[in-house]
Amino acid sequence: MSLFSRAVRSLKTEGPRQAASRAFNRMAIDLDTNRLGDSLVRPEDAVAVDWTVPQLFTTDPPAPKTKNVKTAWIISPPGRTSGGHQNAFRFMDFLEKAGHSVTVYFYTTEHRVVDVTAIRTMLQTTSAYPDLAGDLRVYDPEQGFDDDVDAIFATGWETAYPVFRHPTNARRFYFTQDFEPAFYASGSDYVLAENSYRFGFHGFSAGRWLSKKLTVDYAMPGDFYDYAVDKDHYSLTNTAPRNEILFYARPPTARRAFEFGRLVLTEFHRLRPDITINLVGWDISPYYVPFPYVNHTALDISQLNGVYNRCAAALILSLTNMSLLPMEVMSSGVVPVVNDAPNTREIFESPYMDYQPLSPGSMARRLVELVENPDQVAYAKAMAESVAAIDWVDPGDTFIAAFEASMLAGPNAPRP
């Protein structure tokens, strides 16, 4: 049956609302062929994992070991500009520099062949990636991880499944960078992602909000590292009054709420049509936008500070774990207007973070106020100085200390 006749059928039986909301949610998926195997996790792994039964690695952990630890990381194949991968590789590099060994396994359900040589070249030639010494391998379910590995790190939720299945009592860690169930509607993938927090792994989270959430909601033990701003790239260079604003627009990333930001800026443009709106983060040209804007697409890190320094305020929406952007734009003298929620409040405390309720009208009014602020220049200067004055703790130091401490831990009490 064609997608069209299916749509007509479902319109008849369900009413347009259900049919419409489904079409919007699952646009890329032909519903009739939405079969097992489309998930990020291999069905065999999802079936094999029974987290309701406590495992050796929690009931009978290995003897303490903090020197020359042999670690394995499992991760989806990295892309050149994937920030999540860059960050994970940075932490693998911290381990190597601390005298431990790293072997990286690539896990994917896609049919595309993983080219390990190309990945190695990318690590060596891309400045955003460290040049790792350890082995790179494609994860082979028949082989699994090496038997003598001391510690295994899961990264994305789907990789937690093969990590759970490893037969030895090697210690299990979970390098969590976001609350990934929220990437899905409530459904099978949401549950499979959520369950990974119940596997009994020890978490290392990006920021305290995520760490706290995993501990409070799922009793998952863990540590976190704080975000750190790169002072070399972001600084105040324009001390004149600014008459532009910025929106971090990434339509394919649902958690950046592009459509919602568009509503805010539509209202903003109605109030102040003379102010230039800069869209940064993605090529917006294929999207309908009902106001004039400057389409910066995804800029190189070296070009960002120039754009930021033209702007008085930035609209930055983070619906799951907060982006680094609010701190970065503050360094450049831009007031971040951020949605008010625990996931944004619990990351970074600063009186300059401009938390606003997620009402398009009120956010638009606030952006206008910030541009019109007669003390705008002095305010921007004080804000940038406040960020520059922070002695950012090195996440690597935090991570290695927490890792070595947890390599000493005894058995966890089996959870109910």
Binding site: T13, G15, R17, L36, A185, L263, G361
Partner: protein, 394 residues
């Protein structure tokens, strides 16, 4: 100077999107989403008008109903309760994208056995809002709450909430716009206790609930013998029914108990790859269900947001429901015959096996059916009316 003005002109015109560009479509009309500023409370919520008249005019804003939409069927169940209490109901149909005609919608409902009798009038919702004689406005799906908020009418605002709709989306614009409707200041009447609890504690809403009923005329034990089949409510397009998770669990069950027939009902699943033998019952009419239920010893029902009506209906027919454990289900029904189980495929399969292997399966099924004998929709209707009356007269 000319260059500068050319640059300015370039910057200050709306760029044309490329051909084949990506439309932004939400259930709510864009203008409604843009205009509603809930950070400034609605006057009807700040100063609720006292309603003294015995008979009220009550508007319900809803998306155009389809024949088999359970959510709409439940809305009309309570509309008929209001009508029986002497109130007048006006239905306003709201749809951001899909064309419909009032006549065809009304025709569908009047001729469908799934809908109760009603006398409500139907019209298309427009930006003019509800008519001036309306005393009370009920919003239903989240997008209709925007239409209610934008309406300048001082009618009392209610929100008939049947599910936590932000969960229908990945976290993003749609989930945010849906979530914000709980901050509009409306009074919620919810399907079951989980929603009322969630809306009150997380959003500070005034929220009360009615309990689910199970229609004894439709669902009862007719087959009082050992049963060698099981049932799964399989709806692949409805994410919250956890289709893939259920199939993974049933594959394990099928391997352990190959002599049991597995019935899949709720959707035609023939084009899905399902790794075990099954009976594809597709969508069944309401009067066909009891016969199927009565062949089954256990039913797997996954509900990832608000609980489905199915567990109580299954129990009534002597089927033990295996349901994923969670507050969204337990706070709706704490019936001890519902086999709540962690949403781990192996744990779900083990539980299904335990249920079908019970030596006292027949007695257990009878007791399960008896346990829901008192859960009637008449009781739910009385609870709804009591909540409504208390809210408007209080």
């Amino acid at each position: 100077m000319a260059l500068i003005s050319r640059v300015i002109r370039k910057v200050f015109t709306v760029p044309e999107p490329l051909p084949g560009s990506v439309p932004i479509r939400l259930l709510v009309k864009t203008e409604d989403a843009s205009e509603v500023d809930w950070s400034i409370p609605h006057p009807a919520v700040v100063n609720p008008v006292p309603l003294t008249a015995e008979k009220l005019a009550i508007a319900w804003i809803m998306s155009p109903p389809g024949e088999s939409s359970g959510g709409h069927q439940n809305i009309f169940r309570f509309i008929s309760v209001l009508e029986a209490a002497g109130h007048t109901v006006k239905v306003y149909l709201y749809s951001a994208h899909n064309p419909f005609t009032v006549a065809s919608v009304r025709h569908t409902l009047v001729n469908s056995p799934s809908y109760p009798d009603f006398t409500a009038t139907f019209e298309t919702h427009t930006s003019a809002g509800v008519s001036s004689d309306v005393d009370v406005i009920f919003a239903t799906g989240w997008e209709t709450a925007y239409a209610s908020f934008r309406d300048t009418s001082l009618a009392r605002r209610f929100y008939f909430v049947q599910d936590f709709e932000p969960y229908f989306y990945p976290v993003g614009s749609a989930s945010t716009l849906a979530e914000n409707t709980y901050r509009f200041g409306f009074t919620a009447i919810t399907a079951g206790g989980f929603l009322a609890d969630k809306l009150a504690t997380e959003y500070g809403m005034k929220a009360s609930h009615y309990d689910f009923g199970a229609n004894r005329d439709l669902y009862r034990i007719t087959h009082d013998e050992p049963r060698k089949e099981i049932f799964f409510y399989a709806r692949p397009p409805t994410e919250r029914r956890g289709f893939e998770l259920g199939i993974i669990a049933l594959a394990l069950f099928a391997k352990e108990r190959p002599d049991y027939t597995i019935n899949l009902a709720g959707w035609n699943v023939r084009s899905h790859q399902i790794p075990f033998p099954y009976v594809n019952l597709s969508e069944l009419r309401i009067d066909e269900l009891n016969a199927v239920y009565n062949r089954c010893a256990a039913g797997l029902v996954i509900s990832l947001t608000n609980m489905s009506l199915l567990p109580l209906e299954l129990l009534s027919a002597g089927v033990i429901p295996v349901v994923n454990d969670g507050p969204n289900n337990r706070l709706v029904s704490d019936n001890p015959y519902i086999a709540y189980t962690p949403a781990s495929p192996k744990a779900l399969a083990r539980r299904l096996i335990e249920v079908v292997d019970r030596a006292d399966a027949i007695e257990h099924a009878r007791a399960g059916s008896q346990s829901v004998a008192a859960a009637s929709w008449d009781e739910s209707g009385r609870a709804f009316l009591a909540i409504f009356e208390a809210a408007i007269r209080g």
